[in-house]
Subunit: 359 residues, 2 copies
């Protein structure tokens, strides 16, 4: 049977002042009415029922997850007492799924990405599952890039030996590449065989556990123990696991060390929604290129501006180009949209000065 | 005896959202702790006692004036039921002063200008009074310009025949010039004999009444009648006067028609405070040229920005140059500082759409 493991532990700072430590990006309705986590679950629920969807989040967010996903069985929500990067998440989830269903296969998915074309996404996901279920295969989904983005990792695929499966191409991965500089990113785009690393993986629970046994044997043992003791006292089992497990990413701990990894190149309007600029780009614009996500605005001679407000307060803009105004009632951010990634500087400053407006 | 007539009837829109119809510029503490009206009164009070200071304002603002100037005799505050430009203000004030004190002289002063060097201002004012009291003289104060400003009217003086009086030069006025375009303004500055029209006038009440009798005889009669009936029923007398009097400016109605007008060129750090940009220029700046009139701010890579807030809310700016952020709690303005004059566009828009945030 197919399972989905949704990683919802992030503590993003780039959507401050809307995102706070107490309510990071995945729990916000940045696009549309539903939160990004709710949208992610709805998307996979079309093919995987809720009792086979696991959410791994920070222990502090468990109640938020329950609130936002009231139909999910409580035992499917795992709260990490401490963050240990992505490998322990995958190991724990694989061991739990494998103990429930030794033939279970699983998709590991981020909780905070945007996907425009859900139908194509589900079709790619199905092809990934078919490939994963057909042998000892680690499958990742790669996004066909449309610009030399320096904010993502890249996957280079081997075109020769590619096969068609369930309407999609499956290739072997040649190399994983870290976030490049602009020059390298341009080279990647020109080469044509590079894809964006979406952080979405599909494999059978048995196969990934074997990979853990080989490359991270200690973590493998800890995960198997977790799965064995979970029923007796789940809180204590989870706490023991996270307090002892090594902190390492699935990419570094497994993917880059595995003998063979497969990738499916895909195009379904993917966006990792990394900054306010991404929201601006995804939203509908006025003739002047402005996005007005606010109830009461007045603009004079403004172009390519973004206004977001949760209040009824009038927000007036005069003579601005490419400026974002984000008002959450208790905090106001005004930033150049093309520098919206630097919002983290403000958050660091707030953190250092002990002001609680980030909490 | 010397009197001061302070004109406080303006309904400025350029300081929206801080200024509203219900509370225009002169009643705001835009610079320092006191309101512009309070500062204006304090300035002249050094040489003219409060019982000889008259405030002419809109009837709607009489209670505001009383609140801000509790020591002023109530009968010195005149509320105009309807605005009729500046000539009726001067005619009424001159008739009232003349009926109290036939030898009274008066300075007519705006209530909403900034003057840095008050000592020099008082010295110039004294020289103007001395000139006014020495014969049939209309005296105006001209500001030595330091830039080709297109927002002010200009006064050209005759250098020949100038005399020294009480430490200042007194010249005859050659011409009054309307607000020029930039080319003309540059020519004015290069010519060297042009001054900014500050809107400050000094004359004896008898002399200015004679000028009214000559150039605006009907208004003269109406003003004399006002002064005569004021004591019996002041509200009714004022209402009768304003409802029947012609609407005309003192510049057009008298100054430009008078045979001779004198001007004293002066330099005392004058600023008409016409926009948020003027406030920015008058305030102390950080090393990066930012002005932070707010309790809780955080700036990253910002230069020449202006932040004004009446709330405790955190205001964060990222990557901005020359942008103003004005937060009054119920409205927020974000504007390019060098276009802060265009705030009136917003106000017009609000007025048209019937939104009450301007009221």
């Amino acid at each position: 049977m197919r399972y989905a493991v949704i990683m919802a532990g992030g503590t993003g700072t780039r959507f401050w002042p809307k995102s706070r430590v107490a309510k990071p990006k995945q729990f916000l309705n940045l696009i549309g009415d539903k939160t990004m986590l709710q949208t992610t679950v709805e998307r996979v629920r079309a093919v995987i029922p809720e009792d086979r969807i696991l959410i791994i989040t920070n222990a502090d967010y468990v109640s938020l997850v329950k609130e936002q996903l009231p139909n999910l069985p409580e035992e499917n929500i795992i709260g990490e007492p401490v963050g240990r990067n992505t490998a322990p998440v995958v190991a724990a989830a694989a061991a739990i799924i494998n103990s429930r269903d030794p033939k279970g296969s699983m998709a590991v998915l981020p909780s905070d990405h945007y996907i425009r074309d859900e139908k194509t996404f589900l079709s790619v996901l199905n092809a990934a599952f078919e490939k994963a279920e057909s042998g000892h295969n680690l499958v990742t989904i790669g996004i066909r890039p449309n610009r030399p983005e320096t904010g993502y990792g890249y996957i280079q695929r081997l075109e020769e030996g590619s096969v068609e499966l369930a309407g999609h191409t499956v290739s072997e991965v040649k190399t994983f590449a870290e976030k490049p500089n602009l020059e390298t990113a341009i080279r990647f785009i020109e080469a044509g065989d590079f894809l964006w690393n979406s952080g979405m993986f599909v494999w059978s629970s048995t196969v990934i556990l074997k990979e853990f046994e080989k490359h991270l044997p200690q973590m493998y043992g800890q995960a198997v123990e977790l799965a064995g003791t979970l029923k007796a006292d789940s809180n204590r089992a989870i706490e023991l696991f996270y307090n002892s497990v090594e902190s390492v990413s699935i990419d570094y701990g497994i993917m880059e060390k595995a003998e063979t990894v497969h990738v499916i190149p895909a195009e379904f309007g993917w966006n990792d929604v990394g900054s306010w600029m991404a929201i601006y780009e995804l939203e509908e614009k006025t003739e002047q290129g402005n996005v007005l996500s606010a109830r009461n605005t007045s603009l004079a001679d403004c172009e390519n501006c973004y206004v977001y407000s949760e209040t009824d307060k009038l927000i007036a803009l005069v003579g601005l180009q490419g400026v974002g105004v984000i008002d959450t009632g208790d905090a106001l951010l005004v930033c150049r949209m093309d520098r919206s990634q630097e919002v983290k500087k403000i958050v660091e400053d707030l953190d250092k000065s002990g002001r609680d407006i980030f909490r």
